[in-house]
């Protein structure tokens, strides 16, 4: 089995897993899009051995499948970056909720010593 066949199998399997997670609502559509894009790209690229060899030739890469790794790695970076953006948004939202809750709590509480 060549690296290309392995790559096709893994990409297809991965795509199926992602779709299944979305079907079961374990993964939101908005977050699955990047993963679907990733597996489809990997699938197409793995099918086109000539394309890979052409690129590695142009880039002067001796071992053509290394291009696959490069694609995979870049995609991982993109997804991690996306995740940290999501975390940033989530943490601002959690902070705002905490602040609102704290203020509401004080207003609800019976004023003892205050005023």
């Amino acid at each position: 089995m060549t690296i290309y066949v392995l790559s096709v199998v893994l990409a297809a399997l991965f795509l199926l897993i992602v779709l299944e997670l979305v079907r079961r609502q374990k993964l939101k559509e908005q977050y699955s899009l990047l993963w679907i894009l990733f597996s489809v790209t990997l699938l197409i690229v793995s099918f086109n051995v000539h394309f890979i060899e052409w690129i590695s030739d142009r880039l002067g890469v001796k071992y053509a499948p290394a291009i696959l790794f490069l694609f995979g790695l870049l995609f991982c970076f993109a997804i991690i970056l996306h995740l940290t953006i999501v975390i940033t948004r989530l943490s601002s939202q959690v902070l705002r909720l905490t602040q609102e809750l704290t203020i509401l709590k004080e207003r609800e509480a019976p004023r003892g010593q205050n005023n």
């Binding site: 601002s92 939202q93 902070l95 705002r96 905490t98 602040q99 609102e100 809750l101 704290t102 203020i103 709590k105 004080e106 003892g112 010593q113 205050n114």
Partner: protein, 241 residues
């Protein structure tokens, strides 16, 4: 403020495990500015800060977990905005900001958007370590460069904010090490900022949380934040409540 009524003043005191000094700080404010309301932002303290503050006669907002100084301070500003205060003053819970300087800040806050109590504007009795001094000079230089206004004490947490700043800070306030960046943010929004010379004491209780590693993070984070706010046109991206 054209109204003849005296401005409604709220003193915001963020506190995290400050049971040893909080009551004294509150009494100090009551003595010097009896008309001011006091709100203690109890940032998830695990000691008796809340009880001591309530007993001393302050309102207390208790956050369910520790959100850090920026998030706590912003809670105070959101509260000030909702309760329609004209002036919000931020003050440390450890006793380093003397309440007798409050009238100075308040009277100037009527004609400026933000007034900063500075340790270095004139020679005061305040002394600090060499490293600290270097950091202060660096940030003063950076902020002066970016804003075009000279500031002597950019890390001072002794400040009085008018209505405009209360609203701006309720919208956006830096999460950690907020002092320096929050000045640049206001200047970008066209606020008028003034410094007044104030005395400051050494902390009455508690100890500084600064370690060498934290100082390095502090310098880098704040420098990045200042440069970023300088090239940011409008910071309204943060979702409004």
């Amino acid at each position: 403020m054209k109204s003849t009524k005296a401005p409604r003043v709220l003193v915001i005191i963020p506190a995290y495990n400050e049971e040893n000094s909080i009551a004294a700080v509150i009494h100090d404010i009551h003595r010097h500015v009896p008309s001011a309301d006091i709100v203690v932002i109890n940032d998830g303290s695990r000691d008796l800060t809340e009880q001591y503050a309530v007993r001393a006669g302050a309102r207390v907002l208790t956050l369910p977990y520790n959100v850090g100084i920026g998030g706590g301070m912003q809670t105070g500003y959101i509260y000030a905005k909702r309760m329609d205060y004209d002036i919000a003053i931020q003050m440390d819970a450890d006793g380093q900001h003397p309440a007798e300087e409050l009238p100075k800040l308040i009277s100037k806050a009527v004609s400026y958007d933000l007034v900063i109590g500075s340790r270095y504007l004139e020679t005061t009795s305040f002394r600090s370590s060499v490293m600290r001094r270097i950091g202060m000079v660096f940030f003063s230089g950076l902020v002066s460069l970016v804003t075009g206004q000279r500031f002597t004490d950019t890390t001072s947490g002794f400040r009085a904010a008018g209505r405009k700043v209360i609203e701006l800070y309720a919208d956006y306030y830096p999460i950690d090490y907020p002092e320096v960046e929050s000045i640049v943010y206001l200047k970008r929004k066209g606020c008028q900022i003034a410094e007044v010379s104030t005395e400051m004491r050494l902390r009455q209780a508690g100890k500084s949380s600064i370690t060498p590693l934290k100082s390095a993070y502090y310098m880098i984070k704040v420098t990045l934040a200042v440069l970023m706010s300088a090239i940011r046109y409008d910071r309204t991206a943060v979702s409004k409540p």
